[in-house]
Amino acid sequence: MKQRLVVIGAGMASGRMLEHLFEADPGAFEVTLFGAEPRGNYNRIMLSPVLSGEKTYDEIVTHDADWYRDNNVNCRFGETVTAIDRKRKVVISKDGETAYDKLLIATGSAPFIIPVAGKELPGVMAFRDLDDVNNMVAAAGKPGAKAVVIGGGLLGLEAAAALRLRGMEVVVLHLMGHLMERQLDPAAGYLLQRELESRGIKVHCKAQTKAILGNDRVEAVALDDGTVYPADIVVMAVGIRPETRIATDSGLHVERGIIVSDQMVTSDPDVLAIGECVEHENVVYGLVAPLYDMAKVAARTLLKQDAAFRPVQTATQLKVTGVSVYSAGDFADAEDREEIVLRDASAGVYKRLVLKDDRLIGAVLYGETGDGSWFFDLMKRGAEISEMRDTLIFGQAYQGGAQLDPMAAVAALPDDAEICGCNGVCKSTITGAIVGKGLTSLDDVRAHTKASASCGSCTGLVEKLLASTLGDAYNPAAIQPICPCTDLGHDEVRRLIVAKGLKSIPAVMQELEWKTSCGCAKCRPALNYYLLSTWPGEYEDDNQSRFINERVHANIQKDGTYSVVPRMWGGITNPRELRAIADVADKFAIPTIKVTGGQRIDLLGVKKEDLPAVWADLNAAGMVSGAAYAKGLRTVKTCVGSDWCRFGTQDSTGLGVRIEKFMWGSWTPAKVKMAVSGCPRNCAEATCKDVGVICVDSGYEIHFAGAAGLDIKGTEVLCHAKTEDEALEIIVALTQLYREQGRYLERIYKWAKRVGSDSIKANIVEDLEKRRYYFERFVYSQKFAQVDPWEERVNGKDAHEFAAMAEFGFPQAAE
């Protein structure tokens, strides 16, 4: 018969133990898992990003329902074990008794609540589990809500930063003289305090909490020095204590924690304990790495294999709300010690090394922690550093002269150098797995070794190991984010807009976890374009996410006036239009009239409030907006072609006009300028345009991807078309492909370079069905696009854009 294993506590330590157990021998035990929380195991280290809203709970779940089912774990979540009867070998919970052959206690720790008056008031909470997070998120929803965080250690600061990101007013109260005094020396603590204060968090050190005030719920926190901070919530993050009550009650040997042997066995041979609730050789552990080691040992002990817990010296590499902090060893001041300090205040960097007898015994790094593992390695090995003492503080790259290459620094790390502190993974384990299992990506390494899978602060190192081990075979997806509001690149955002059916800017920002509430001037116009081009007819254009020129359909000039460019189809005009332009210029005293490079006329210096009236007069003469301001089709420049020119081979003017009438009004990733020349003499300069046509006797040569701006580049030939209809279809399909693939503000030549001309030709030239498909999609989107924006505004649309809201002058003398 299978042995029955009962596990009390469904946290990170027991979760890891079960993984090892099932991996080694899936059939050895019938497992019942009790957890006080009504949910399975999740990565508790990542609760801070959930609190700040950067991650969702789902993303930090480490064992989901499928995993428990696949491993036949009998889950009793939300059910607290109230007693253990060791004589009868049963545990007692609300639903009765559960018998065990082996019992594992992994109850973790409980937040320490300081014993002050008012600590029971509603609104006082810990920061320990998802319920706490949900409570805090709910409280942060109230505008102007205030939080007081008691405790300036890692946990308290993570909570404070996250609540600040949620928009709360936050005060941190810390009993000691500087923040994180266990990990940082006073100087680094000061830098951290300054950083947090720059984000609007108030820090009050040497704060002795006297009482929490309030009637029905918390209202304020009072300090011994008389300060009172108003508070809607109070977060207690002063520390944790091992949760040992159930072990004590059952008569197990408990001191500060449950006493365990090297094998993780308690004073009862059938009861094991691991995690933050245990005490091993007078030490209680809180960091995740030793807990995972305990999990490994406990699994082996249960399977009757030899194993012993050997605590290793651990370094603390922490990311406090985006600030990198690293500390290791002993960094207190003392008589027999020397120190080397590097400060770069403007860059926010502070490094301090503590030396004793020419050996490194402690390090504190703030702001720049890349050399942490190298210092830690020197410390563990007890290496003599007198030779490199002068340059030691500059890190590994400065030793031995040559290595300025970070890759070389990683490659030079010894095999047993610890890369992932959370999971205790050393370099050789990672490189061994990369080679042995043929891993090629960060996700592979995470899956196989757990390195970088917990807090993620070693991700850079793991990527460098992948690169140095695989050489050119490693091809990380170097994705440039759209802007600092997101980590996603243009292509990913576009794909996700389609995949998730996102149809508004708020929906994109919510679903794709934008880091800002409202985006910025970079991402909003891009999102507006992507949504508009993806959902023609469905998406409602967001005017406020457009650059001013597109918002008011004119070009802003350096003095805040605008320029107005009516369309002249193919560059052809007539006396009526020219008269209307002249009349408008007179009527509105327009100072400058200029012929543009795109064969039309620019009226410069129009006052904003005059724009609708100017447009009304131009509309009356049959002219519409030339979209000279748009990320869209601008002009189709032409020569006179076979109509007049003795060399003209085709009706280039006619084709230009036809293209422009077909395509006007369409929005594109960046501006699109076209031209049609009637013969290879190319008077319309078609070979430096985004799309150009050179007419020849046998038909039409279609060119694309030229540039004549910041870059100068001749076009490439796309293909040859026999008829005007075919030429139009190719040009339209090409533009549609660009509309769907181009990144916002990426001109056609850059898009073509990125995706490759071959892939464009494959879609537009070689595959006639695809060409037709893209053509049809363009035609469909034009149904909603070909509305003259000027006419709309003459008829009153967006009237608020063109008029001042109010006007007032100097006060008049009293009557």
Binding site: T516, C518, C520, S545, E807
Partner: protein
Amino acid sequence: MSNWIAIGSINDIPRRGARCVKSPIGTIAVFRTAEDEIYAIEDRCPHKGGPLSQGIVHGAQVTCPLHNWVFSLETGEAQGADEGRVRTVALRLDGETILMDADLVMAIAAE
């Protein structure tokens, strides 16, 4: 003492947008954020005089339409690497009516 004068309704300004108020110190840009906060600043970028009212509004910031300087609407300070500030003018909301501190404007005009 402040002399609060009504300049219009909050509904006259689109969310994440701005309107202009003409005053003795030149044009004042009045902003309404996505969260319905209102702010007023000089409508003139200290860099090259761009009309900030025409910029894209994001959070409580605006990006100048001419050269993309970003200003805090709360403090008037240029953000990021750029240095400079625009003057802010106090506003108050009475129901839906926006009130501007005209005395402050006059004081600036008198400088």
